[in-house]
Symmetry: C4
Subunit: 316 residues, 4 copies
C-alpha cells in the first residue's frame, strides 16, 4: 500500500479537477494525537450515526455510566407502566410490604428486567402480566446487547504507541537523516509492523499556493517485532522533498509530518493502527536520540520508555 | 489481486471453452447499488440456506420483529403444552389467580423462557415439571443464540460509501480522464483503501457479439486514508479500452462500469467492501467535479458531502 | 503465497534431507472432499485436543445433542448432591409437592442451573444452600460457554464450493488445456478469490520412485468476484509437467491434483478456504464444459449450478 | 514483510543514532520457547495494564480460580451490605430459616447476582431493595463480562507448534545447509504458512563489539499447508552470514537464531503466530534429520511427531 491522502492531489499538478485544496483551506490534517482533523458536512441521519461505534469509542467510565443510565431509565418507564396498571396490579407477599406504589413497581421492574424474579412481588392482573411479559423480552434483548458490546469493547486491541515528542535531524552515514522514535506503551506485544511517513506542505505552482503530499522514503519501513523501540530514519538526500528546507521554510509552508503505523497484536491476532502528526515547531536540528537502554535486569534486554524523547546535542 | 469477474473470459478469445457469455445473455452484472445481478439456479437446500446470513441481512426493524415473533411463537407452543398437562399442572399462589388456563400457562411460559421465574405460578405435576425443564433448556439456548446474532449484527462495520451520481470525462493533464468521486457517508473512518474499476461491454469478434471485461488503469488505486473525498482517475490514452468511444457506442455496447472498493474500518479493524455500477446513461462529457471544500470550521479541513455529484461545465 | 506441501520436497532433488517421501508411502494427500488424508502419531494429550475445535466441527444435530447431554448430566450430578444433603434439604411449597426426593432435587437443579429459580422448591439447610451456590456459579459459566460456542459456530462462514466432478482436457487457443470448473453452492457471495493447483505424482529419479509436487501455472489464478461459475485453465504447453502424460501414465504415477481456494465471504468479511482433490480416474479427454447459462430471469445473468459437471464431446 | 527487529540496527553501521545495542547489553532476544526476552521500564499505569489481556493469558485453572474468586468476593461485599441494612432487611419464608444473618445475606446475594432469585429469601426494606437493585445490575454486567472473556479465550487458536530440539548442519545439494524441522503438535490444521529466520550475533566493527541482525535466505519460506512436517533449509553459501563460522565462533559471538512463523488456522480462519529461539549450544554438525514417516495407517500418509528431533550421523 502506497501512502497518500484519500484526497487531495499528491504528486500531480494542481489543476487535475480532482479536488485540489486551495491555499485558503489551511489547517493540519491530523491532530497531534493522530485523530483526523477533518469534517464532513451534510451526512444524512440514516446510515451514518452508529450507536455501536459510539459505545466502542466512549471511555470505560462513560460507557458504564451510559449503561447504568439506560438500565435506570428502562426501569423507570416500566415502573410507570405498572403504576398505570392500577394499585392492585402487583401483589407483595412479604410481611411488611412497600406501601409506595411507585417504588414497589420500580423494584419489581428491576427484578423482572434482570430476570431475577424473586416473586415476593408478583403481577396479579392481566395488564400487569402483559407488561411484565414485554419487560421479560426487553430484558433478554438488553442482556444480549450489553454482552455483545462489552465483548466488542474488551476484544479491541489496547494499542498505546508512544511517539517521540520531536522529529529530529541527526547525523546519519556521513550526512543527516530525519528521525522519529516510537515504542510500545502497553504491555501487549506488537508484531509485523509497517510504517509510512507522509509530508504535507504548501508549494507555489504557477503563482498559486497549493498543498502537496509527499511520501518519505524510509531506510526501513517494516519490522517483524517491536519489543523495544524503533527509530524511523529518512535519509536527507537531494531527492528528498525536505532537502534544503530551513526552519523558516517549514513555518511558511505550514509543514505537517504524518506517521501512520500498522501492526498485529500478538495475543489477539488483530491488526491495529496508530497515527501521529508533527508540525514545524516539533522539529529539532543538530541533536540525536539518547540511548534508551538500561542495565539488563534478569538477563533481558531492557529499555526505559521515559527516555523515548531524550536527545543529545551533536557537536559539528 | 487483479480485477475480473469470477466468470466469464476477459482478455482472451471467445472460444476458450471457459464459459464465454453469448450476446443474448445480456443484463448488467451489478445493480446500480452494487449488489450482484446474477442468479444461481439449482442450489440444493442443504448447505445453501443459512439462517445466520439471513438474520445478518435483515434490517433492524425486521430483525426485532422476527425475534419477537419467535419469542411469542415459542411461548405459545409451550403454553399449549402446559394446558395439555391438565388444569392442575400449574398452581398460582397470588390472591386473585388468573382463571383462564391458557393465559396462566402463557405467562408461566414467558417467565420460564426468560428465566425470570417469579414462582407465583409454579408447576405441580411431573408432566408440568418436565415441560418446564425442557423450556428452561430452550431458554438458555435461545438467549445464547440471540446474543450471538446480536453481537454479530452489531460488530459488522457500518459502511456507507457515497458514490458520485455520474461518471464524468474531465480535463486531465492536457487530455481527458474518466473520473468517479466517492466519499464516506458514515461517521466511522476508513483507512487502507484500494479500488479497482472493471469495464464491461460487447465486442464483435469474428462476427459474434461477445461480452468483454477490461480492468481500467487508475492514476492511483490505493490511498492510506479517506477522511474527505477521493476522485478516481483513469486517463484516456490510446491504450485505454475507452479510447474513441462515443456515447452512442456506449449504448450500443451496453457498457457497464463496475467499481469495487476494499477498505479497513479504523475502529473495528475489519475489512469492508463496497461496489457500485454505472451504465451508459450515467456518463457525462465536458464537465468537471465542483469543489466540495467549504470554509474551515474550527481549523478542520471540511467538505460538504452533498456536493459529491456536483459538476461544472468545462469551456473548451 | 506459492503452492506446495508443508513437506516433502517439491522441485528439488530427492536427496535433500528434508523428508522426501519414499515410494512405499503411497496414498493420496487430500480426500476427494478436500480433507487432509494425513495422520500425525504421538501427539501428546496436553495442548492438542481442543474441545472448542470439536464443538465447532460437529454438525448441528450432534452439537445440540452434546449440549443437551451436558445439561442433563450436570443436573443429574447436582440432583444427587441435593439428595445427599438429606430429605429436608429442599422444601416444596406447592399444594401437592413431589414426593420423590430425587425428582424434586432434579427439577430444583434445573431451575437453579438455568437461573429460573421459581422458588416453589427452595433450599433450607446450609448444605443445600452451599450446593445451590455452587450450581449458581456453574450455571453462569455454562451459559457463558454455550453462548460463546454458539456464536462461534454461527459466525463461521457457511462455505459450500461445488467442484466439477471431472478434470477435463479441452481445446484451448489452438491447443489443449486442463480445466476444472467451480461454483458457489451457498447463497452467500464470495469475493477476492485466489486459487492454486498442485500436481502430485511419482517420478523415477536415479532408480528410485519419488513423489513430486508441481504447481500448475494457471491462465488466471485470482478473480474479484464469484457470482457465477469459474473455470480454472492450465494450458498444456511443453513446460507443463502434464505434457505428454497419457491416462496410463497417470494411473502408474498415482497422479493427484489438489485444488486450493481462498476467498472472502462478502457478508462476514472473513477469509474462507476450500480444497478438492482429483485422482487419475477423474480425468476426461476430448470434452469441453457445457454452458451453464440459462435464459435470463428478471434481467439477471443466470446459471444452473446442476450443469456444473456437464461436458460435451469435442470433434477433432 | 521482511525480517528484522523493532530495534536495533541491522545491516547498517553502528553509528546510526538509531539505538545500536552496545556489547554490554547482552542477553538473548527470545527465550527458548519464543517469548520476548525484553523489558520496558517506565510504562505508566494508564493505558498499559489490560485486564483483558491478563484474562486471556492465564491458563484455564488460573482463569477459573480468578472468576470464582471474583464471584465469591462480590457476594461477600454484597452480603456485608445486606447485613448493614439491618436484621429485618431480608425475610426468609421457608419453614426453618437460617438464623445466621450473614449466611442468609450471603446466599441471598448469590441468588441475586446469579439472577436465580428463588424468592424464599426476599428484601423487605427500602435499603435492601436498593442494594439488591445494584446487585442485579452488577450481575447483568458480570455475566456479560464473563461471557465475553470466555468466548475470547475459546476462540483463540490453539496453536502448538513443535520445533526440533536442534539446529543442524546437514548435507544439501553437494554442500551443506542449516536446517530446522517443525510440525504441528495440535489437532487443528494450519494453512498458508510463512516463516523467516533471523540470525543475531556480535561483530567487531572499528574495534567495537556490536550486535548484528541478519535474515537468512531460505530455500522455501512459505508453504500452502502443513499437515505433516516441514524442514526449513538455509543453504550454506559464501553469501550466508554463517559461512565459515565454527562452533567456537558461535559461542564467542553469542549467536542466536530466531525463527518466526505465521499461519492460518483452517477451522477458525484466524492468523496465528509462533516463535522459537536457538543459541550456540543447540547447533549440531554432521547429522541429518531422520525420517518421520511410518507405515501408512488406513491409506493416510503418516508421521510420528515424536521423531521430530531425531537425527542420524552423516558419514563424510
Amino acid at each position: 500500500m502506497t501512502n497518500g491522502m484519500g484526497t487531495p492531489p499528491q504528486t500531480t499538478p494542481e489543476d487535475l479537477g480532482i479536488g485540489s485544496v486551495q491555499a485558503e483551506r489551511s489547517g493540519r490534517f491530523l491532530t497531534a494525537d493522530g485523530r483526523f482533523n477533518t469534517r464532513r458536512l451534510g451526512l444524512r441521519g440514516w446510515g451514518s450515526l452508529s450507536p455501536f461505534h459510539l459505545m466502542l469509542s466512549l471511555n470505560w467510565w462513560m460507557f458504564f455510566a451510559l449503561v447504568l443510565a439506560l438500565f435506570v431509565l428502562t426501569n423507570l418507564v416500566f415502573a410507570v407502566l405498572y403504576v398505570l396498571c392500577g394499585a392492585d396490579a402487583l401483589q407483595m407477599t412479604t410481611e411488611h410490604p412497600i406501601d409506595n406504589t411507585f417504588w414497589k413497581a420500580f423494584f419489581f421492574s428491576i427484578e423482572t428486567l434482570s430476570t431475577i424474579g424473586y416473586g415476593h412481588i408478583a403481577p396479579t392482573t392481566m395488564a400487569a402480566h402483559l407488561v411484565s411479559s414485554v419487560e421479560a423480552f426487553t430484558g433478554l434483548l438488553g442482556v444480549a446487547l450489553i454482552t455483545g458490546v462489552l465483548f466488542a469493547r474488551f476484544s479491541r486491541p489496547n494499542t498505546h504507541i508512544l511517539w517521540s515528542k520531536n522529529v529530529i535531524f541527526a547525523p546519519y552515514q556521513g550526512g543527516e537523516a530525519l528521525m522519529v522514535r516510537l515504542t510500545n506503551g502497553a504491555y501487549n506485544e506488537l508484531i509485523e509492523l509497517d510504517v509510512q511517513i507522509v509530508l504535507v506542505f504548501y508549494e507555489w505552482v504557477q503563482g498559486q499556493k497549493v498543498r502537496r503530499f509527499y511520501p518519505l522514503k524510509l531506510e526501513r519501513h517494516e519490522v517483524e517485532f517491536f519489543s523495544l523501540a524503533w527509530t524511523l530514519v529518512h535519509p536527507l538526500t537531494p531527492s528528498s522533498p525536505l532537502w534544503g528546507l530551513t526552519p523558516q521554510h517549514m513555518h511558511e509552508r505550514e509543514i505537517e509530518l504524518m506517521v501512520i503505523l500498522h501492526a498485529t497484536d500478538d495475543v489477539l491476532s488483530q491488526r491495529v493502527h496508530a497515527r501521529v502528526s508533527y508540525t514545524a515547531e516539533d522539529f529539532l536540528w543538530n541533536v540525536k536520540f539518547a540511548s534508551m537502554y538500561v542495565s539488563n535486569s534478569h538477563g533481558a534486554v531492557t529499555i526505559d520508555v521515559r527516555k523515548l524523547s531524550d536527545v543529545e546535542p551533536v557537536l559539528k
